[in-house]
Symmetry: C2
Subunit: 361 residues, 2 copies
């Protein structure tokens, strides 16, 4: 059916070994350039395509990255990962790797089931976006294929992590507002207390405020966590007045994430405030921000970049010789943690403040 290297060999009165060496550019033994050309040409003519199964059966390398997907609910609120998928896909492709999707996994057990695929499909490495579950179970797997966690992951990871560094983006956001003339800024979130990510971003906000000698108030509502987007919008809308009361003459708000910022949009409209005329709003993530009215200035979550980096890291780790891997294990080197700096994307929800003093409304 399909054309094999044996077909090519037979047609040229060669052995398939020679054809294989030529196709893979094995220069261990010299083969006449003329033969090389003839093989190349007939391969082209016959439309030869190598069989990946046979190849990786022999070599042990699959040139395939496994990707474990979570959160498969049909109407899932989470359109978060598409950009990351694009990044992972691009990063893998640029290295000649393909992507095998494992999942969607609804439960922890299914994720473990996904890990078995590493063995079954002989995937070279695994990338898991946004994994928050128990990490001990993950490492119990006997396979030596590296597992890279991408974005938003548990911090106690024993596995390499590629994640966002929000601080540069938040500093850029504060700088941006300061340059527009804002002097009194509000931090706003409706997340649960003890969310490390919130703490980190708040600290970055505080630091930037201090450096710029601005007035800044942090309003963390400390509500539920792990909300879906729609619910976050609601809660934000409801609690924003309370937050604003802590700094009534604020002219700009920086929100922990995008749904929170949309809630602020709604709350502002409720009060008759116009964005950005009366209030500048900066969100996070850049999922829906571009289609909002007005389009929203955000700190990007850099999902594409994180995904690409994660793919590259996973491939790099899988290609380091096993000896060095064992060595690094025995020495117990510090876990790899690549951070991608967040960037500010300026759109139309930020402008120079109209009122320079006095409380709003």
């Amino acid at each position: 059916m399909a054309v094999t290297i044996r077909d090519i060999a037979k047609r040229l009165n060669l052995s398939h070994s020679t054809v294989s060496r030529i196709i893979n550019n094995r220069d261990s033994s010299f083969i006449s350039t003329e033969t090389r050309a003839r093989v190349r040409q007939t391969a082209e003519e016959l439309g030869y395509r190598p069989n990946y199964h046979a190849r990786s059966l022999q070599t042990g390398k699959a040139c395939v990255l496994g990707l474990v997907l979570e959160k498969p609910e049909p109407n899932s609120e989470d359109r978060f990962w598409q950009s990351m998928l694009n990044g992972i896909s691009t990063g893998a492709r640029s290295r000649g790797y393909d992507l095998l999707i494992i999942g969607p996994a609804r439960e922890q057990s299914e994720i473990e089931r996904g890990l078995e695929y590493v063995t079954e499909h002989r995937v070279d490495a695994l990338v898991i976006p946004g994994y928050l579950g128990s990490l001990d179970q993950l490492s119990s797997q006997s396979s030596d294929a590296p597992i890279v966690l991408a974005g938003n992951s548990a911090s106690n990871a024993r596995h390499p992590v590629v994640d966002l560094d929000a601080a540069p983006g938040i500093e850029a956001a504060v700088d941006h507002l300061a340059e527009l003339g804002h002097r009194r800024l509000l931090w706003f979130d409706v997340e649960r207390e003890g969310n490390g990510s919130v703490d980190y971003r708040r600290a970055a906000f505080r630091k930037a405020i201090t450096r710029r000698a601005l007035k800044g108030v942090e309003a963390s509502m400390n509500l539920e966590s792990r909300l879906n987007e729609e619910r976050t919008v609601e809660l934000s809308r409801r609690h924003f007045p309370e937050a604003l009361a802590r700094l009534p003459d604020a002219t700009g708000v920086i929100c922990y994430n995008e749904p929170t910022a949309f809630g602020v949009y709604a709350a502002a409209a409720d009060r008759g405030l116009r964005v950005p005329r009366d209030l500048s709003v900066i969100g996070f993530d850049d999922i829906h921000a571009a289609v909002a009215a007005p389009s929203m200035t955000v700190v990007s979550h850099m999902l594409y970049a994180i995904g690409m980096k994660a793919a590259e890291l996973a491939i790099a780790l899988s290609e380091t010789p096993a000896t060095s891997v064992k060595k690094s294990k025995s020495v117990a080197t510090a876990p790899i943690r690549e951070l991608i700096p967040a960037e500010l994307i300026v759109r139309q929800s930020t402008a120079a403040p109209q009122r320079t003093a006095g409380p709003i409304v």
Copy 2:
């Protein structure tokens, strides 16, 4: 390294053939139930996992679906496909198939390159979401793996298509507004003239209006096509007043797609109109609709369902024996075209009209 069926056989003084038959439940020749149990148990003990490469090298079946992705721009406006990916993934998984991602493909040539993967990875079938390119090139491929187009595809397809039937959703939208008490409705789009999808949806709108004996005006601005989301929002915002002028006392608007509806949100705000108090707005697609303020009533694009159906169809086609495939080709049967009826998702952008007559503002 990895445990094989030979290891199991050796441990039990059997031949690997017997083990293989037991694992695959080949009942062609009867094997003592006792041996069966012992093999099963040792397979479990040793943690045996079949090697997919070896298996599909032998059987020719890969149990893998190829998925060709388009539109990989880093900050792509198009978060369209995530739900469909979830659907495809779920559908494939439920049949025991995995997903191999091919792409992202930037150009037509790369899509063709993706098709070569069908041969290289011996993928059983290919699913291509939203493919609008030339279809002759696609079919020139010699491989007999079926190619299923999913959603939004060119209509002259010679390949099986799974797509949305927008009409039921639009009828439901009109019904919904009518039941709320609306009598004068506007259809609004800013797409290019000759967009068949627009025509189809407009026709459904007109039909529903007629059946309900309502007053309906269709405002198609006939602007550019293939816009990104942000630009569509802008154009919609700018041109909506012009549309509204054609039916000044309209109390409800149905928009061709979601960005257009967001533009209407903005245009309404520009005029001081409140949604849904002064104007009910219905969008399409359900990508960002849930996070809008107010959350938007939409006709769903059913991406998840379309993806799932496409995966199931692709698998079904790949499993039909080659003879029947050839037969159907020679007889030139009608191309398969599965349509998923659109559904209305009611949120908060629709309500009973406050003013029953007279122009707005």
